[in-house]
């Protein structure tokens, strides 16, 4: 796809505008904010010409389409399988997925957990907006108890199970070097989230093993809140359920995939 560079106000040079307009996000969506953080980190690490990004299917799909970076889009839920092969074959220094919480841990739970169990030297960036945004706001793995979605009209209850804590869960796996959860609802949290992404990418460069960063993002249209009220919902409700921070941070997993010779 031929591209011409067009710098987004205050943004990274890696944002591009394809020949045909692609509008990836709704007003008030925080996913482009996370995209900006990823691109800043990639640029600071000098990896944008080497990196290969593997987006899943959902609201996150179209973000990497407008990055000046090689990309392999996948079927819904399959980024960790695809990224496994891309990393093993190309030995590229940075191979990472960009996924929503449904892509990563509902339909994609098998690939995600299996890549972690194999200790694949890849990074997963998963954005949790607590619903399936692209399809109109259905319940997703991170929908919190009591939260109304189009498939939990009375609020998520006992029959729908409990919200998934992915970084905590994967932290218990031997092949995992790093997991963390961040948010971008305040400037301080945003800076921390950026550090988590950088740390995860560094683990991959070090050949330490599997790394995953979950970032909580606002979804005004499907939450039916204004962008400002979304920040309040994140602060008061989501962060009470999903604590921020690192859940695993080791320099080397017990059976790491060897760092491939460059």
């Amino acid at each position: 796809m031929a591209v011409k560079k067009e710098k987004v106000a205050g943004g990274s040079d890696l944002w591009i505008r394809p020949e045909f307009a692609v509008i990836p996000s709704c007003p008030g969506c925080q996913e482009p904010v996370v995209g900006q953080l990823i691109l800043e980190v990639v640029e600071e690490m000098g990896l944008d010409g080497e990196a290969i990004v593997v987006p899943g299917v959902g609201c996150t799909t179209f973000l990497p389409v407008i990055w000046n970076m090689d990309a392999v889009l996948t079927a819904h839920g399959r980024p960790c399988d695809v990224a496994t092969a891309v990393k093993r074959v190309t030995k590229a220094p940075l191979v990472f997925t960009v996924q929503g919480d449904g892509d990563c841990f509902a339909i994609g739970a098998g690939p995600t957990v299996s890549a972690a169990l194999r200790g694949e030297n890849i990074t997963v960036i998963t954005m949790s907006n607590t619903n399936y945004g692209t399809t109109g706001g259905q319940m997703s793995p991170t929908t919190v108890t009591g939260q109304r979605t189009t498939t939990t009209p009375e609020g998520r209850g006992e029959m729908q199970g409990h919200p998934a804590h992915v970084p905590e869960l994967l932290g218990g796996i031997k092949g995992v070097a790093y997991t963390a959860r961040g948010a971008v609802n305040t400037p301080a949290n945003l800076q921390k989230a950026k550090r988590y992404i950088k740390e995860a990418f560094q683990k991959q460069l070090d050949g330490a093993g599997f790394s995953l960063v979950e970032i909580i993002v606002a979804c005004p249209p499907n939450w039916h809140y204004t962008p400002i009220d979304c920040l309040k919902f994140i602060d008061e409700t989501l962060l009470a359920e999903f604590p921020l921070g690192e859940f695993k941070n080791v320099d080397r997993v017990e059976q790491p995939i060897p760092v491939p010779a460059q």
């Binding site: 045909f20 010409g49 080497e50 392999v72 889009l73 399988d81 092969a85 074959v89 098998g110 194999r118």
Partner: protein
């Protein structure tokens, strides 16, 4: 002359892949193809090639998707239940126009069926089992040597058309051993894979590459809209139909009964044909090698006055439909299927003498 080995058909797949320059294999255990996965696990890592035992056939085919996107020759193998799981990936590969090879060692079905032989995946292999109405070239080897040769041809055709190619084997071909001459087959050279991802700085033009299984979903330079993309697929499939039909004819010129069989059953029919000729009966054999595109025209030409066709398959009649469709009302088409196996258990087989009996019935 290459090295001559005495190996199983499943192992011959590995030798063929190696000769074709395959760089990555992804597989999940399933009977009766395990020797293939085990061969790659043993032979690939010492050569610096990639082998991954995946967590499912869904993962295998998506790993193939990832490896193919980087431009290397890559493959997977499976049997019928795993093949069912791979249909999503096959459809995605077709959309993304990624070349790869899938070796399908058929077993009894439907469902988990049996772990023994059958030819019951003819329809799902030749019809495009996933969503969207795509086509894959399907090659049907009939010997251990052809298992090896067809894998190489499959890699060439996959790259030529940027499309998956299926090698449709079965438990008999996979498990039986025959002499194999290992040699690299030469095909015309193909253009470099400029479209592959490798990191933007490693692209010849410094432009990023985007591989996606949703071509047509959003406009691109190659495909400004959905129908442009679909039209490209149509042209590609038509070109395959024109160019890639493969088949073998034996003693059809004077034949009164023409057998039609593929894969291991073609070997059975060969035996039956020789027995019939020994009795002075004029019997010929058509062996489709490409099951898609199907050699319909070649079969139609044989449908002259007085000729009867006998389709022999180890299923309930799948290729039969293609033969009937090719011949129409021009000649009678008889069928001998898996219900003619020599015993009722899953290891029962259709033997040459049973085929001969049927030849005598319709002659």
């Amino acid at each position: 002359m290459g090295e001559t080995l005495f190996v199983q058909g499943n192992e011959a797949v590995g030798h063929g892949a190696m000769a074709a320059g395959c760089e990555a294999f992804f597989g999940y255990p399933i009977t009766p193809q395990n020797e293939i996965t085990e061969w790659f696990a043993r032979e690939f890592p010492p050569q610096g090639k990639v082998f991954v035992q995946s967590q499912s056939e869904i993962a295998s085919i998506n790993m193939v998707f990832g490896a193919a996107a980087t431009g290397v020759r890559c493959m997977t193998s499976t049997s019928s239940p795993g093949w069912s799981l791979m249909q999503e990936g096959m459809s995605m590969l077709s959309n993304a126009e990624l070349p790869c090879v899938v070796v399908l060692v058929q077993r009894g079905g439907p469902g988990a069926g049996t772990t023994r032989h059958s030819q019951m995946d003819y329809n799902s292999a030749t019809r495009g089992g996933g969503g969207g109405g795509y086509h894959d070239i399907v090659l049907a080897p009939a010997s251990v040597q052809e298992q090896h040769d067809h894998v190489q041809l499959a890699f060439h055709l996959a790259d030529k058309y940027r499309n998956p190619v299926i090698v449709l084997s079965d438990a008999i071909l996979g498990q039986m051993a025959e002499p194999l001459e290992v040699k690299a087959l030469n095909y015309n050279s193909l253009p470099a894979k400029e479209w592959a991802v490798r990191g933007r700085d490693h692209q010849s033009d410094g432009q990023r590459r985007l591989i996606l299984p949703a071509q047509g979903f959003m406009p691109s330079k190659a495909y400004p809209n959905y129908l442009t993309f679909v039209n490209n697929l149509d042209q590609k499939f038509k070109e395959m139909r024109r160019t890639e039909v493969r088949f073998e004819l034996q003693d059809v010129e004077d034949a009164r009964v023409i057998l039609v069989a593929f894969g291991s059953l073609a070997r059975v029919c060969q035996g039956a044909m020789e027995m019939a000729r020994g009795e002075g009966k004029k019997v010929g054999l058509v062996r489709p090698i490409s099951l898609w595109p199907f050699p319909a025209q070649a079969i139609r030409k044989l449908a002259r006055d007085g000729v009867k066709f006998l389709v022999v398959e180890d299923n309930l009649g799948q290729m039969l439909e293609d033969v009937e469709s090719a011949i129409g009302e021009s000649a009678p088409v008889h069928f001998l299927g898996m219900l003619a196996r020599h015993e009722a258990r899953e290891m029962g087989m259709i033997f040459p003498d049973r085929v001969l009996e049927e030849i005598n019935k319709v002659y």
